[in-house]
Point group: C2
Chain length 305, copies 2
Amino acid sequence: MDAIQKNLLEQVAGLHEIPEGAYNIRSDGQLAGRNTTANIDIISKQDKSGIDIYIKPGTTNESVHIPVILSQSGLQELVYNDFHVGENCDVTIIAGCGIHNCGTDTSKHDGVHTFYVGKNSKVRYIERHYGEGDGRGENIMNPQTVVHLEENAYMEMETTQIKGIDSTNRITRGDLKDGATLEVREKIMTHGKQYAKTDFHVELNGKDSSTNIVSRSVAKGESHQVFLAKISGNNKCAGHSECDAIIMENAHVDATPELSANNIDASLIHEAAIGKIAGDQLIKLMTLGLTEAEAEEQIINGFLK
Amino acid sequence: MDAIQKNLLEQVAGLHEIPEGAYNIRSDGQLAGRNTTANIDIISKQDKSGIDIYIKPGTTNESVHIPVILSQSGLQELVYNDFHVGENCDVTIIAGCGIHNCGTDTSKHDGVHTFYVGKNSKVRYIERHYGEGDGRGENIMNPQTVVHLEENAYMEMETTQIKGIDSTNRITRGDLKDGATLEVREKIMTHGKQYAKTDFHVELNGKDSSTNIVSRSVAKGESHQVFLAKISGNNKCAGHSECDAIIMENAHVDATPELSANNIDASLIHEAAIGKIAGDQLIKLMTLGLTEAEAEEQIINGFLK
């Protein structure tokens, strides 16, 4: 693995070296490393690109890293990864995709991640997207995440797209059984002429199921962001979604949350706010000696933290 | 005018007798009374059903009543009413439609109201919809309101649909110039198998334009409500929308507000909450001696006040 690839790995997975536990590293469309453990098995799919990850019931305090890096300009791929998490697990899954594109062709990674989370299991899922490259080739990522939560399962999903993705269409679908909970925290920053669309639909089918979707985003330059989030309350359940966006320069943001209450015991709330950085916040930091640009950066970092 | 017609008039326009000021009463598709004043003229359209209302610049403290009543089962009509409000006015316009349907045919009133509000003018617009009748005929109303606000114009719009409308598709469009403000307060209650859809789109085109859209609704029985509200911020502007809905029995409510921020100085916010009446509120009123039904009625009345 060369320096570019190593840097991509660090950006998307925080990995300086080979991770502990189970992992599967995909580099330029090829398997670049895999490790399985007594409790976690990883098997390549035979019928299409991708892997099946099997986590045995009762597995706790283990992690799976499945980073994907693309350093060849113009590489385009579609990958299916399925996570089969047994009952009573407590695991962390770290996915992510880094693209280094110095060419003129479009690099593209589309990943479909499907989670089957067993009863009473807890999954922490972290996904980071990162692009770089000084070529004219575009970096495109279209991640799709499908989450099936069994009774009392809990999943926490953290997605971050901070830099260098020219176009992204992020689709997340969830269906929850009795007592299940899905927490989503999304952070997005776009600049230049980038386009980012996120589209959530969570179906609260189970009694006492709940979801909380929080999206924070910063849109700079000429970039355009679209936020869609639909929560369907089909049983006694609680749903909340929140979208806060900062716009700068000539950026556009469209936010369309949707609540669908189909049961008298469904309690659904959403909030959204779009605006620029408050002038008095900037002035406060500038009186402390920061330039306007530094003050803006401070505020954005705090907002996306 | 018979007793049924008089009661409809009272329900939709609060009129016990002939109103003061300008008015135009439409009953079963015919003109039933009209009065004009020195400042307010009302002229029937020649090319289609409807009237043009001309309000002279500088007219203040005057009102226009334009109620519509339908007491013949099966009557269906489409009416265009245009309000030409001069500059520097301060007027109140009371519209409304009441249907009494004791037959088996569908009664339907579709009205398109277009407002051209001049600079610095203030308009208070009140619209009430009411249906009754023990027949099997349906009562349908599809009001469309189009609001054009010139510089620094202010319009307050209060719409109420409390009873007896089986199906309604309410469309409201607004475009605002510099300094203009549109305030909307909507109240809806549906029951039985009723369907009510409201669809707002306000374009904040002018500098320092603003809008505030507040919808409160109660959905009972098997009824279905859909709330759409889009605010486009195309300049330095402020927009806020809020949808609060109480669901009871087997009712469904879908809320989809949309914010579109197309200017760095646009500040847009929305909030929505859907849920049933809180159990502790009910219990509190029941300990004061109310039955559960009475307690619910009290809470709903307070919510829609």
